[in-house]
Subunit: 625 residues, 2 copies
């Protein structure tokens, strides 16, 4: 049942599949007000429209790029050294942190001094940083003092994706206005807007001072909807090597953050490898590791062990902690009549502790102590929904909503400390009960970002829970959820492998993007319009490349029409050359255009005379192949 | 580019994969008021709950079964003879039809007399039936005269899925009430309710008198949401054999109807094989075949050719026809400024015809003549949305909604003839514009059933359009759509193979079921609750078997934990034995139950004294493996 360490520091190498360039794409950087604010984007080049259809140039489409240096052909990543510390200067410049002599956590020190772990240890440790005594180094604290950090400027540029330039290039003529249910999405994201949203608590920037390698990103309902991918080993399966490969593979396809949910062997060391090599924020559930430390006996957990774990992980650079502080003693028996009881691991651990000690959990009673740790490293809270429903039957019940109210109270306490907070949400919820979740969360938690798992809209499709949950994720994203935690096809069945990670990520990119469109996020429609124009003009390569997964699109096309000539054919494999509706429509359009038939009035006036003409040219209408 | 006929009548055999029994399932039949009303269902047997968790029996769960005789181990299907004509007696008993001496369609007669087609022809033709002069044989006509047909009784039994028995067995303690947006879903479906819904036009029973092989089903917003699977060859690819295998494969996984969209070779003969062997209604788009008959030149289409095609297909037994009669001349130029113009094949063919002739299309001008044909065979209309949007940009525009208004007018004309009607819908629509489609359709078309393709909620994920559209399908199903036309992963890229058909079907079964749950359809939650109970009790085999796709669920589970012992283990591969939240919750539940802690009050009173006890038993809490 246990896994031997298979990942030896000497041999660590980047997963090859994760660094293949995406087709016809260019990694570009947009520079901000200072040269070290260099914001990555991916420019997807397009080919020219065919001469007979107009012959125009099609400008490159900018897309949000989470893949970090891995997809930069000019970068050479050595996993053993970690990614370049992009934010190091920014953190140091602020002058409110100090480099410690060593790790503050007992556990960290013990692991570091164990020679048996040497072969699997990440070798290039830096001593951790911490806020100077009395300082608060959270982005929220800066924001509230009116400071626009380089992180905030970076984010503003990143979220805009060169929207104004795209508009000037004609990439977005008009966009559906959207329905945002009371969000406050501006026409252009400015650094000041980022600051203001963080100051209000309506968005967070997960950015531990000990994770300078990240490319800053933001989570909030007025920004692009984000997605998280879960990875992590278990006692039963998987190695450090696999987990690092899942990280680079997941961010390649669009994971905005990664949660390391390891519960198996060597999770301290695994986490170090992940953080040092992650361009995106890393989240964890510290109680998992704390439980390991007490041999899996929940009752033996204590504030002291948990606290040391928080410090251990904060000094490694974890950007957000899931903490199930809302599982209050009184809520636990409310779950007894549920169909599936408590399904959150963290929630069930704390429930057990509460019952065994007949006390409120130490997460709740020590919440302000936790805030002190969070602000010393700028770790964001992800307040866990330990009582989320694990079945349709249990959705929106008293236990779930009781906990959510407590999370609202805790949010206000965290904000008192200028600590960043997001709130985790369900779970399994039928469609008609999803909006109630979102609305209640916004109300109870003062618009702190919501971060939901799915929700799964039915229980009956194991093997397809990326889809049962993708439906709910798209909807709650539309309603105002800021980040969607992916679900893979293996949910309820096993641990995801790399294929599952990719399927989960792409499904959730779809959900997040569908939500952006429905909210009317400025510029969200650019990529759809470019895709549709390419489709209409039979630019097959552009269709593949503009998609979320060019490899799969190309492979599917090749299955039916493998020849290269098919990729320039003005028809597709579904209908063949004669039936193509796109082709016919182009002719209709040309005809209408040529004859000034743009309006209904023009039709009734002008068409009689022109019918004969059209017939005459009719015999040439089909494209011959 | 052409395909040789590979399907020889002599060798035709049922696709083996389509007749494998589903695990731990039993095909049962519920008999109605007469012995030949025998309604198929699938009973999924469950194992007993483990003794330490209560040891109770778990009754079998009834699920809707579209697979026909293929999944009945006592049936032996010979594709060369076709399925047994279940409805033959019912049709004959009504005494309003006559058996013709031969086919009325010129084209049918020509094909039948061509000896070159003998090897690929279905051999067991029966002469077609037709309404006697002056008779109307539509189910709507009977319904409006107050007649409950055996088809209606069959449907009532089928839709109920033995709900009352399931409730008596404790399979549904309570269900979320749902939000049905003004639907009128009764607590129990009675034959009289079926009749009434059909009489009002709020539901249709696609049931051509020349397709007696079908197991009757209903499409309407007050019934279970249905799904359609498209199959069919094209000029470029696929054979009769493949298409028949896709049919039996599709109905095995849950397709409620199948559309044969063939545009390639031998589509008359392909269709005959499909209809004779289909337990579900078959739909077609007759204009595709009509266009073949005029060599692909849309301008050369005529009412006469189209009429002969309708009769040809009606006498073969097609149950519903997609007819794009709403593409009016004046709407065509409205599509000129679209990003993707006209994307419906039928729509573009008719648009071209309209422009070339400067006339309203013959589908529109001959609509009442078409009604005469429909009622002579009981073919239902599926009024096609020829101007549906093919991109997010084009959603809900004037052309689309103009056509929908015309479809509303045509619905009323069809109803004047007691001809059954459903309405086709989009397409590509961002989430926030989906409900407007549904609401307008209900309003314009007097609640005639809506039948939508997706809608796709974004354009940017070729290769994953089952998911982009599954999101929209679930939502519009919730809002009131009666049938969801599946989209496969190959949409926009190629023709679906068998794997794609299955993926499309399962995705759409998820969407339809999520919609049933959200509408609060009576009993919809039974399967979810059974699944969740099995999950909570670690009954792995039951979890697989209760799912929409037991094979995939089992395979995914085996990938991580291949041993048989894992399937009885009280933990799963995600968390391993120590971390299992389900296990912990069971303990919480036992504790709460044992100590009378069912309410919040009880907790505060009783827990202090009991905490010690719980700790004492704590060391035994984890299940040893």
């Amino acid at each position: 049942m246990t896994t031997l360490p298979t990942y030896l520091s000497d041999a660590a190498a980047v997963d090859d599949a994760s660094i293949q360039p995406l087709p016809n794409s260019e990694k570009i950087y947009v520079t901000g007000s200072r040269p070290d604010v260099r914001v990555p984007m991916r420019a997807i080049r397009q080919s020219r429209t065919a001469t007979e259809l107009g012959g125009e140039e099609n400008p490159p489409v900018m897309v949000y790029d989470t893949s970090g240096p891995y997809s930069d052909p000019s970068a050479r990543v050595d996993l053993r050294k970690g990614l370049p510390p992009l934010r190091k200067t920014w953190i140091e410049e602020r002058g409110d942190t100090e480099q410690l002599a060593g790790f503050s956590s007992d556990y960290s020190r013990r692991r570091l001094s164990d020679p048996a772990l040497d072969p699997l240890r990440f070798g290039h440790f830096n001593a951790p940083r911490k806020a100077r005594a009395g300082s608060n180094v959270s982005q929220m604290h800066y924001a509230r003092r009116g400071i626009i950090t380089p992180e905030m400027e970076f984010i503003a540029i990143r979220e805009n994706l060169k929207l104004q330039e795209a508009k000037a290039q004609g990439l977005l003529e008009r966009q559906h206005p959207g329905e945002s249910f009371g969000a406050s999405i501006p026409a252009e994201i400015t650094p000041e807007f980022v600051r203001d949203e963080v100051a209000r608590g309506r968005a967070i920037i997960p950015a531990n001072i000990n994770h300078p390698e990240i490319e800053p990103m933001i989570i909030g309902r007025n920004f692009l909807v984000k997605i998280n991918g879960n990875i992590g080993n278990s006692a039963v399966t998987s190695s450090i090597e696999e987990e690092v490969a899942k990280l680079t593979w997941g961010t390649r396809w669009g994971a905005d953050t990664i949660m390391d949910l390891s519960t198996g062997k060597n999770i301290h060391e695994t986490r170090e490898w992940l953080i040092r090599n992650s361009p995106v924020p890393i989240g964890t559930v510290p109680i998992y590791q704390a439980l390991e430390k007490v041999g899996g006996v929940a009752e033996d957990l204590s504030w002291e062990i948990f606290r040391d774990t928080l410090i251990e992980q904060a000094e490694q650079g974890v950007d957000y902690f899931t903490i199930h502080a809302g599982v209050r003693l009184a809520y636990v028996p409310m779950t007894a009549s549920r169909v599936t009881g408590i399904v959150s691991r963290g929630g069930s651990i704390m429930a057990k502790w509460c019952l065994a000690h007949h006390q409120e959990s130490f997460l709740y009673t020590h919440f302000e102590d936790i805030c002190e740790i969070m602000k010393a490293y700028d770790v964001s809270f992800s307040l866990g929904d330990g009582l989320r429903p694990g079945s349709i039957a249990d959705a929106n019940d008293a236990a779930q909503f009781g906990e959510l109210e407590t999370l609202g109270e805790l949010t206000k306490i965290a904000w008192k400390h200028d600590v960043q907070v997001m709130i985790e949400g369900p779970g399994h919820v039928p469609m008609h009960l999803i909006k109630e979740n979102m609305d209640k969360q916004l109300r109870e938690c003062g618009e702190a970002p919501f971060y939901t798992l799915g929700p799964l809209t039915t229980d009956i499709a194991p093997g397809y829970d990326h889809i049962t949950s993708g439906i709910g994720a798209a909807m709650i994203g539309w309603y105002g959820c800021a980040m969607l935690c992916y679900v893979t096809p293996k949910e309820h069945l096993g641990l995801p492998n790399k294929d599952d990670v990719k399927t989960g990520i792409i499904t959730y990119k779809i959900a997040a993007h569908a939500a952006d469109l429905a909210k009317g996020h400025p510029g969200a429609q650019i990529r759809d319009d470019a895709m549709s124009k390419a489709r209409f003009e039979f630019r097959w390569e552009d269709q593949f490349n503009l998609g979320l997964d060019p490899d799969t699109a190309r492979a599917y096309h090749d299955e039916t029409l493998p020849k290269d000539s098919a990729k320039v054919a003005h028809f597709c494999s579904m209908c063949g050359p004669k039936f193509c509706s796109m082709k016919i429509t182009q002719e209709v359009r040309e005809y209408a255009r040529d004859h000034g038939l743009e309006t209904q009035e023009a039709v009734s006036e002008g068409m009689a005379a022109k019918a004969g003409e059209f017939r005459q040219t009719g015999s040439e209408l089909y494209h011959k192949v």
